[in-house]
Point group: C2
Chain length 77, copies 2
């Protein structure tokens, strides 16, 4: 199975959700992408359907928007 990808932007809501997701599904099953450090990953996330962060892209291509930290417009600002 391919990994899930957890996209976030470093906000407190993001960090809290990151800890929860790693605890639930295991660090080895999820790639963490921080847009503050990896702005080049933003187009890929938007193409996948990510509208806000934190968000989890599942191996089957579904996007789970988890709580609400920031919109993608905020992330790109």
């Amino acid at each position: 199975m391919s990994k899930s990808i957890f996209y976030h932007a470093g906000c407190p809501v993001c960090i809290s959700a990151e800890h929860d997701i790693i605890s639930l599904i295991g660090a080895e099953n999820v790639e963490i992408v921080h847009f503050g450090e990896s702005k080049d990953r933003i187009p890929e996330a938007e193409n996948a359907g990510v509208k806000s962060v934190p968000a989890l892209l599942t191996p089957n291509g579904h996007v789970l928007h988890i709580n609400f930290g920031a919109s993608m417009a905020d992330v790109k600002a």
Copy 2:
């Protein structure tokens, strides 16, 4: 570790998220609560901080609101 609890109300967004969560963390690690069948579980969920469904209550008491299907006000209507 105690189980997570996935609260939902049968909406399409809920069912899709249910499948994703079960796929990610395993059916044996999550209790599924459908408010349409278990209205008596609504107060417990609200006390835990569930504001909308679908939502996942983690074993450490955090609530992950996943996408958005319906508010708790809608669920109780």
